[in-house]
């Protein structure tokens, strides 16, 4: 009896131990398998130079970029680009700046144009002029460093264009047709159209939606005949034109025909897109970057149109530029330069622009698209490209990014949402912009 009890008592213990041992073994095998699998995904093929690329695209744009990177990795055996998503432009930029300080920056990234002068003057960008083939790419000057900034060509080549855009108007063509309206060509027409298409009742519709954002304000300032930085270098913030631009927004919000979407930065942009897609806004201003997304998701006929004119036509350019970090080892920087050359080849430029809505950045790509009658079949794609004739360059100013984020943007929100005096706010902003940091 005792022996049996001992046997029965000991048997489960042995089984437990075996089970535990097997469990541990299985866990170890599974763990090493998972580790191996993850390593296999991230493994750099032997003998290749690794280029770490930090990018800030979500959704379709991310998929297209990853496919282009994959194409580069498959079509040559010298370099290997590893692309890592880092959040939206501003999150990505914050991480990039922190990584530079921590000396663990990637080799390659892309940043908004407003921050390039600051990064260049801080000495963290690699001049690209001497890398084979980069200085003589057949770039559209308004999209490259040369004319994206005032006197951009006088600085060493620090930035190459990739996803470049302008603001454009998106129209719900069905609502416009029902109301017998066309895309507004002037500010007065914008007022009329916004008012006519507004339905103020519950569950109604706004005639116009636009994120209260620096980029669109800069467009309005240009249209009102002003400039952010005066020709003498003074930070003008448009002077009277800056006030006129803000007052136009204030007037439309007061009348209830403009919906400033909630949220800040790209949250507001996304909200604006959703308002348009759900029929809560008959027309919005957004980036050409969203063209393919909006076309794919709109359950109505969508029309793209250029922005209207105030006293003249004007738009800023937007999107980002490729940059190579100076801190990277030489072979990796050379590999990054080869990747950039690949990305500016006609096929890649065409694939990127036609699948996302961004503007093709080289003349050869535009010529190829014209030859295929691409713009005949896709007239919406031509709108941003045509607007380049009225694109205004950014000042090459190290303070531009600070002025945008810390000084102007909060005051735009204050003026439009709280209806505060536009002139007083811009006087305050100018004074702050002139203060030493």
């Amino acid at each position: 009896m005792r022996a049996r009890r001992t046997a029965t008592a000991s048997t489960p213990r042995v089984q437990d131990m075996l089970a535990r041992r097997e469990f541990l073994r299985a866990t170890a095998v599974a763990g090493s398998g998972l580790l191996g699998a993850s390593c296999a995904v991230n493994a750099v093929p032997k003998g290749r130079t690794l280029v770490s690329l930090w990018f800030s695209y979500g959704g379709t744009n991310r998929e297209v970029l990853e496919q282009l990177v994959d194409r580069f990795n498959r079509t040559q055996a010298r370099d290997f680009v590893q692309a890592v998503y880092q959040g939206d432009y501003f999150e990505g930029l914050a991480k990039l700046r922190t990584a530079i300080a921590a000396r663990c920056a990637p080799v390659l990234s892309h940043v908004v144009g407003e921050v390039v002068p600051y990064l260049a003057e801080a000495g963290v960008l690699e001049p690209l002029t001497d890398y084979p083939g980069l200085a003589d790419l057949d770039l559209i000057p308004e999209l490259g460093q040369q004319r994206s900034w005032l006197n951009g060509g006088t600085h060493p080549l620090y930035a190459l264009p990739f996803n470049r855009s302008t603001p454009i108007a998106y129209l719900n063509a069905e609502l416009f047709a029902q109301a017998g309206l066309e895309a507004p060509r002037t500010w007065d027409e914008l007022r009329t159209v916004a008012k006519r298409l507004t339905e103020p009742k519950a569950g109604g519709r706004f005639g116009f939606g636009c994120p209260i954002n620096w980029w669109f304000w800069v467009a309005l300032v240009g249209q009102a005949g002003g400039a952010i930085v005066a020709p003498d270098g003074r930070i003008a913030l448009g002077d009277g034109a800056g006030v006129a631009a803000l007052e136009l927004w204030q007037e439309l919000v007061r009348e209830g025909s403009l919906k400033p979407p909630p949220g800040r930065d790209y949250n507001a942009w996304e909200q604006c897109n959703q308002d348009f897609l759900s029929g809560r806004a008959a027309m919005i201003w957004s980036s050409t970057a969203f063209l393919k997304y909006l076309e794919a998701h709109a359950r109505f006929k969508l029309l793209a149109a250029p922005l209207p004119a105030g006293v003249r036509r004007a738009v800023p350019t937007g999107g980002t530029f490729w940059i190579v970090l100076r801190s990277a080892p030489k072979p990796e920087k050379a590999a990054a330069a080869r990747f950039l050359r690949f990305m500016h080849e006609t096929q890649q430029v065409i694939d990127w622009s036609t699948r996302t809505g961004y503007i093709p950045v080289t003349h050869s790509a535009v010529r190829a698209l014209e030859q295929r009658n691409y713009y005949g079949a896709h007239p919406n794609d031509r709108v941003a490209l045509s607007q380049l004739s009225v694109a205004e360059p950014w000042p090459w100013s190290v303070d531009l990014f600070r002025i945008q984020r810390e000084i102007v943007q909060p005051r735009l929100e204050s003026a439009v949402i709280q209806q505060r005096d536009a002139r007083a706010l811009l006087v305050e902003a100018r004074a702050l912009a002139m203060e030493p940091t």
Binding site: I100, P262, R264, N267, R405
Partner: protein
């Protein structure tokens, strides 16, 4: 108990002290040091003395942030305490139904802040959210823009926070209620005291230490509000929901003003220190009373 060697307790304390030094004291000293510099992480840091503090004060940013945080925290603390206490009084009884409601209310407390933020972003949507639909059912006009109106957004965020942390107050008040001696309540009842009189004269005075604990911990938690602001409003509209922690995040990670962010963090540390000091003082007064 007396240690066999006088130095033993110190050796045993050493790992904890080391951890405290590396992760608390050292970063705090670095924080104070950084607050005296102007630094953007890329260009060399420049010593500016107290300029960061002066700039925060002069721009009104510090007062605005402090005001926003304080007013939102006050609403959050009062709201969560009141609702927590009311629910505790209602649910302090046996039975499956009460247990189910207690669990349901507390479940909100264990859901992540980001999930709660996203959920309420959808519920509070001014055009298609449930609240907007209810509003438009009774009214012909457009529903208020809860999250886009600077006058409403702080209270909308505060309400979401109350919803989230009420479960915590409920649990603490329930444990407090269970410490109230039944014999005293029964004696009061025999003396003819009404339910309200029993609550005012017996339950409430005996719940005072619990109330103090809930108030202090909720206040400190609400001062540290970040996730829900980041998800729902990003500090807007027009900085109306820019609370302390979000302001520090914005200065540091979006504007890369290390010095100014550090100065703001030092002030925030001081405020939390004051709150904790007040808590100790109140507890001590309570004990001596």
């Amino acid at each position: 108990m007396k240690p066999s060697r006088a130095g033993d307790p110190y050796w045993l304390l050493l790992p904890t002290l080391l951890l405290l030094f590396v992760f608390f004291v050292f970063p705090l000293v670095m924080l104070v040091e950084h607050s005296l510099f102007s630094w953007d992480l890329l260009t060399p840091a420049r010593y500016v003395g107290l300029a960061n503090y002066r700039s925060l004060l002069r721009s009104g940013e510090l007062w605005q942030t402090f005001g926003t945080t304080l007013s939102m925290s006050t609403v959050v603390v009062l709201g969560s305490m009141t609702s927590g206490l009311l629910l505790a009084l209602l649910l302090d009884r046996p039975g499956h139904w009460a247990a189910f409601v207690r669990s349901a209310v507390f479940s909100a407390y264990v859901v992540s802040w980001v999930s709660v933020g996203l959920l309420f972003l959808w519920l509070l949507d001014a055009d298609s959210g449930i609240l907007a639909r209810i509003y438009s059912h009774f009214s012909q006009g457009r529903a208020p823009r809860w999250l886009a109106d600077p006058a409403l957004a702080p209270w909308a965020v505060a309400a979401v926070t109350i919803w989230k942390i009420t479960g915590y107050a409920l649990v603490i008040f329930l444990s407090g209620l269970q410490d109230v001696p039944v014999s005293v309540l029964e004696a009061a009842e025999l003396d003819g005291a009404t339910a309200m009189q029993r609550f005012r004269s017996v339950t409430w005075p005996l719940l005072r230490p619990t109330t103090l604990f809930v108030a202090t911990t909720s206040l400190i938690a609400s001062f540290q509000l970040f996730d829900v602001v980041r998800v729902m409003t990003q500090g807007g509209p027009v900085r109306a929901t820019t609370v302390f922690v979000y302001a520090i995040y914005e200065q540091l990670f979006l504007d890369l003003r290390v010095g100014r962010a550090s100065a703001e963090a030092v002030v925030f540390f001081g405020v939390l220190l004051l709150l904790t000091g007040a808590q100790f003082l109140l507890f001590r007064t309570q004990e001596s009373a």
